[in-house]
Amino acid sequence: MNALKNPPGVKTTGMWLFVLSDLLTFATLLVIYTALRIANPDWPRPFTLSPAIVYATIMTVVLLASSLTMVWAVAAMAEDDRKNTVKWLLATIAGGIAFIALHLTEWRHLVLEDKITASTGLFGAVFFGVTGLHMLHVACGAVYLSILTAGVARGKFSAEDIETGGLYWHFVDLVWMFIFPLVYLMAVKP
């Protein structure tokens, strides 16, 4: 039906627009967090350096590393090196899955040991709301990259497709760089 093809760059433009709008969704959550925290001077600060902050730091490093492997995947695809593209994409997905696994472990700890859940007060609501939405984004990203990986291995997709996927992945990383200080570091036990 559409014999004519889009010029290059349309997909990345589309992804940039998605990122802009998603940025606003996360910004809204963080603004709500700020407003609620200012309104409640006795905001709980339950995190201890170990294990919570150590865990969160490892998660941050894992996610940052996955951004690096994503950069390498995009670079490999730009040179039409599909074998290495698949390799680095798989590494990125592994990073994402490791992040989720670590995150779920930490959630479990919070629920079982510290007795903090989404319904035990505003801290829990904000914490699980913000990190939950972020984790959902990482999970979607892992699925998205898996589809790309399978396609690249079978000779489908262009360099622009991988770059577009990279944009999404870096965005999800960037959001975490706001969540880590605002939600974790600012809630360390005084």
Binding site: N6, S21, L24, T28, L36, L122
Partner: protein, 528 residues
């Protein structure tokens, strides 16, 4: 026609069909509401048949009235005013007007339509679940909307479905917005700069940008409200709340916070409804005046500034919610500032007509009607934008009259103009001009007969969202006025049948249209 088509013209028509279905439903709901306001004690067998719980013995309960109001508002704002001018006509004509082969992402386009359709079905399902449709209006303020069944019959599953529906609608609108913006940025014909686009494209462009930011915020608000209802969080539920003599266990949240989020979306939303119409009216006035649009660049810039200002005026919906007087002044000044680009547009429309060779086609009638309604509805916006006056008028019928004229009826007139103007391209035939003009005059009359008196009800302090006025001594004096309005509404509803007949009849039996029958200069009429 393929159901899951990825062709922009088919998708445009699907959106228009969805909006037509919705507008008929929304209008019927409003007529039932108007009936109830005038005859609150009437026992109607039909009501009992449709809503056994909401109208026991045919007598409508206050809760049923509120649920009808909620559904009327939600259906009209989201599924008519947001879909028809932007996703409907925009999908069909944007690619043609900028010389693109289709939208940038055809599959995404198809998905956004079907997500919208799913969203409408989810909303309508609320009528059929236990407790019925929600009571909290299209604004869905918590705590009413945040606590579940305890706050009213429709606040159980009905409200959950409502929030789910709006969340789906947000997702669909975001997909559509990405598509529109990417298409305009990337797929303009070679050599076509932004300031070479017709003003219709500017209208769709700015509207898409507004959607991209506004719906993202509403989505966040909707998710949190859903969490408050289902996961036991209390983002928007304050502590120590007593509902039906039961102290609620939540604490710490802020209902005002939801109002901020909602109106950060809600105010831009009213521009989403009207901006595509503004773009279209500019084109129609210019074509039927035989002149270029007066002050093209100023018109484009005015669209952008209205869109931009739309994001910094949300506080004027919350003057009585408890707000620092300094914030009120800032919001008020910014709100009144919207009058400047609006006036630029109005005067440029008039200047476009000035000295032109006017052709009074049906589309031209609707375009002129649009300008009239835009002025009438806009002037009262300047009244409501001032905190001192708004404190009195807030939540009265004055507000109802204001927004129905400017974002409801004016936008609908733009849609009528669009149908008459583009019908030859969509179906190869004309809509009947004579019927169109008859419909125009009767509708124009009906609209003013319904909404002008409601301003006066507002002067008296007649509150909106009340299901029964006879309980209140001070409202006795406005009852005759309401009886008149209700009958005018019946008349207005009835004359819409003329348009519906014209629309379906002309698709098969209308006069065959030649290529470019209006002598328009824009690309969609070119046969290449």
């Amino acid at each position: 026609m393929i159901i899951f088509s990825i062709d922009h013209k088919v998708i445009g028509k699907q959106y228009i069909g969805l909006a037509l279905f919705s507008v008929v439903l929304g209008t019927l709901l409003s007529l039932i509401m108007r009936f109830h306001l005038v005859y609150p004690d009437a026992k109607v067998r039909l009501f009992q048949a449709m809503w056994p719980d909401g109208a026991p013995g045919g007598q409508m309960t206050p809760e049923l009235y509120l649920s009808l109001m909620t559904m009327h508002g939600t259906i009209m704002v989201f599924f008519v005013l947001t879909t028809a001018p932007q996703s409907g006509f925009g999908n069909y004509f944007l690619p043609l007007q900028i010389g693109a082969h289709d939208m940038a992402f055809p599959v995404l386009n198809m998905l956004s339509f079907w997500t919208t359709a799913l969203s409408l079905l989810t909303l309508l399902a609320a009528f059929f679940v236990e407790g019925g449709a929600p009571l909290s209006g299209w604004t869905a303020y918590p705590p009413l909307s945040g606590l579940g069944r305890i706050t009213g019959p429709g606040e159980g599953l009905g409200q959950d479905l409502w929030i789910l529906s709006i969340a789906l609608f947000c997702v669909a609108s975001l997909m559509a917005a990405i598509n529109f913006i990417a298409t305009i940025i990337e797929l303009r014909a070679p050599g076509m700069g932004y300031f070479d686009m017709p003003l219709t494209c500017w209208g769709w462009f700015v509207t898409a940008l507004i959607s991209l930011f506004a719906f993202a915020v509403l989505l966040a608000g909707g998710i949190l409200l859903l969490l408050d209802r289902t996961a036991g969080t209390s983002f928007f539920i304050p502590g120590g709340l007593i509902v039906n003599d039961q102290v609620q266990s939540r604490s710490g949240g802020s209902p005002i916070l939801f109002q901020h989020l909602f109106w950060f979306f809600g105010h831009p939303e009213v521009y989403i409804a009207i901006l595509p119409g503004m773009g279209l009216i500019s084109t129609v006035l210019s074509v039927f005046s035989g002149k270029k649009v007066f002050g093209y660049k100023a018109m484009a810039i005015a669209l952008v500034s209205i869109g931009g200002l739309g994001f910094v005026v949300w506080g004027h919906h919350m003057f009585i919610s408890g707000m620092s007087p300094y914030s009120s002044i800032a919001f008020s000044v910014l709100t009144l500032a919207v009058g400047v680009p609006s006036a630029v547009k109005t005067f440029n429309w008039l200047a476009t007509l000035w000295g032109g060779r006017l052709r009074f086609t049906a589309a031209m009638h609707y375009a002129l009607g649009f300008v009239s309604l835009f002025i009438t509805g806009g002037i009262t916006g300047l009244v409501l934008g001032q905190p001192g006056l708004d404190v009195y008028f807030h939540d009265t019928y004055f507000v109802v009259a204001h927004f129905h004229l400017i974002m409801g009826v004016a936008a609908i007139f733009a849609i009528f103009a669009a149908f008459h103007y583009w019908f030859p391209l969509m179906y190869g035939r004309f809509l009947n001009e004579r019927l169109g003009k008859v419909h125009f005059f009767l509708t124009f009359l009906g609209v003013y007969a319904v909404f002008v008196p409601l301003h006066f009800a507002g002067f008296v302090g007649n509150p909106r969202r009340y299901p029964d006025f006879k309980e209140y001594e001070f409202l006795k004096s406005v009852m005759p006025l309401h009886i008149g309005v209700t009958h005018a509404a019946y008349f207005l509803g009835a004359v819409q049948l003329i348009f519906l007949f014209n629309y379906f009849w002309s698709q098969r039996h209308g006069a065959i249209a030649p290529a470019n029958p209006w002598n328009a200069a824009t690309r969609e009429w070119r046969n290449d």
